[in-house]
Amino acid sequence: MTDIASSTVRISARPETAKRDIGIKRRYAAERRFRFYGMAAISTGLFFLALLLWTVISNGYTAFQQTTITLPIEFTEKVVDPKGERATDGKVLLTANYPLLVRDALVKQLGLDASKRPQVKQATDMISASSRTLLRDLVVADPSIIGKTVPVTLLAEANIDSAFKGQIDLKVDESKRKVKDQQVTWMNQLAEAGVLKKSFNTGIFTFGASSRPEAAGVGVAALGSFYMMLIVLVLSLPIGVAASIYLEEFAPKNRLTDLIEVNINNLAAVPSIVYGLLGLAVFINFAGMPRSAAVVGGFVLTLMTLPTIIIATRAALKAVPPSIRAAALGLGASKMQTIFHHVLPLAMPGILTGTIIGLAHALGETAPLLLIGMVAFVVDYPGSPMEPSTALPVQIYMWANEAERAFVERTSGAIIILLIFLVVMNLGAILLRRRFERRW
């Protein structure tokens, strides 16, 4: 039977004339072309990203090293407190001639003749003028070191720092560069003695603004940014989420809410400098709030971040399946219970991601801060958001305006720090998202 069956099976021959051109080749060619365009686009993007990172990192990594000179400083009573008044007059310790201590130690270390003024001046120029405050703080903190000899690590002056890092071309004629041949000789001499060496630059994280690159850091600016982020988070998250929930769940759909929706979408695209002008006009000129204070910066960035958070939150609320709402309502949950027990927790990953992206955006924002006076030379840590402060990106902007070689590397160094903050924030967003999604 099977034989007969198989022998009787006839396969119809494909008629030659019926072969249609349905464009298979063209379709595949189009697909290949499209793939190529996509890959080209991605490669271009990756290339420029790599270029950016390479430029920033190659310029900036040296900012995390600092040349230091460790000298045995003799805190002679004759210099620090010549009249022996420190018990009665606290000012004596603050106004003492500390650079003299540094000079003496350096002269001794290099074996110079203290009477040759120009030579000694050249030698002391190798050490940062910030040594005065360093020594003063040491003495004020512990007056018992007066009369003792203590090894102190001092910062090298920025040009010596650059020269030691090999960033200054020593073949250039001596008169055309800031580091003199004599200083280079001493530098090598000190380096051989193990007194002068490169170490990790903690200063860039802790110092405030300074006209001396070796004493400049982003610490103060980072605190200002931190205050602002705190204000932005505390204000924009509740306001943004409340506004989104109302608009998405409760508001009637009419012309007014349509208008509000259009405006929110437009506000997200308004140039940030316009928010700066608004902050200047409303918070500083009208409300009389302090200039260059983190609180005003925080308010301005809040206004700027709100549309982003509202849009992200509304999208997250919309994405919650209607069946969950129906289930809760069908059980007799009120609208409020439905939203807070079921919809909001499910929308939480989206809301958090939107918020952190908004915060990261605000962290990197410079333009509005320029207008409210946060381009400030702030040396001391602001004790509260009401005090004058500056922000990380503004600090970068200010350093970028400086000409010295040491500021060039610090600009890139600060950019690296800012980028690390942003990457950490975005990682946080991803982790939070994962965590909440797993729980639900």
Partner: protein
């Protein structure tokens, strides 16, 4: 809640359906979605401790009618309901009636199983919790256990009550949704094509369950399956183009319907 003794139920069921009292009365119910009218003056009464099946071709208004019974249509923009629907003696569209309270009395099970993305325990205990039906942990435990038992799910899940309800199979999820509805101790349970997303075995289980639930609850079920209507219901109502065509005892409906359209639909001539 008005629970009849089992003997009384059996007796009532043995009698002719016509003698069973009405639980819900719908009089001249019309529903409009904006300008479009979806239901035309429907007069349909739901009998107590009875399974009433609503059948009819797609778009005939049977789901719309079902959703008027616990005012789920309120959540739809531009939806307007006219006419009068009573639950016992209360007009459910009366402004003094709270929709939250109504839905606690008239529960609902949806087409697609929609457990909350929470544990099985939390799914069942959610209703009692928001309505304050229990205070202590022991009370909640008891409600969860009895509800799951009524839904025929207890033996399958009793060892994993803290696992997410979304991890169950489709049929189990739907029974979990039924348990969730039962936990609030409603008087009426509305089911909107509860088996359309389930396989035949899970469907059989849910149908069996509906049969058992009838002793304690009044059930209204929308179904596309004629066989299902015949299997689970005592009364059947046929809708067509927003009108109620016929409402009758299920036996009569499937053997000797009064209306030609019902006959045609049951025979599969349209729909």
């Amino acid at each position: 809640m008005n629970i009849m003794s089992e003997a009384a139920v059996e007796k009532a069921l043995d009698q002719k359906m016509n003698t069973v009292p009405y639980k819900m009365i719908g009089k001249d119910v019309s529903v409009y979605y904006g300008e479009k009218r979806a239901l035309f003056d429907v007069n349909l009464n739901i009998r107590e401790n009875t399974v009433t099946a609503l059948i009819g071709p797609s778009g005939c208004g049977k789901s719309t009618f079902l959703r008027t019974l616990n005012r789920m249509n309120d959540t739809i923009e531009n939806c307007r309901v006219t006419g009068k629907i009573t639950l016992d003696t209360d007009d459910i569209y009366d402004p003094t009636i709270d929709v939250v309270e109504l839905r606690a009395r008239v529960g609902m099970v949806f087409q697609k199983p929609n457990p909350f993305p929470k544990s099985i325990y939390d799914n069942v205990s959610y209703g009692p919790r928001i309505h304050g039906l229990a205070r202590t942990k022991a009370d909640f435990d008891e409600i969860v256990e009895t509800s799951l038992q009524k839904a025929g799910l207890w033996n399958e899940v009793k060892d994993r009550l803290q696992e997410p309800g979304t991890g169950l199979s489709g049929g189990q999820q739907q029974r979990l949704c039924i348990a969730r509805a039962v936990a609030v101790s409603p008087e009426v349970i509305l089911m909107d094509e509860p088996c359309s997303a389930l396989d035949p075995i899970a469907t059989a289980k849910v149908e069996e369950l509906i049969h058992e639930l009838r002793t304690n609850f009044t059930i209204v079920i929308v179904t596309h399956s004629m066989q299902q209507a015949a299997r689970v219901s005592q009364r059947t109502a046929m809708f067509h183009l927003g009108n109620l065509v016929e409402e009758n005892d299920t036996d009569k409906m499937f053997t000797n319907p009064d209306d030609q359209r019902t006959q045609d639909y049951i025979m599969g001539r349209f729909g």
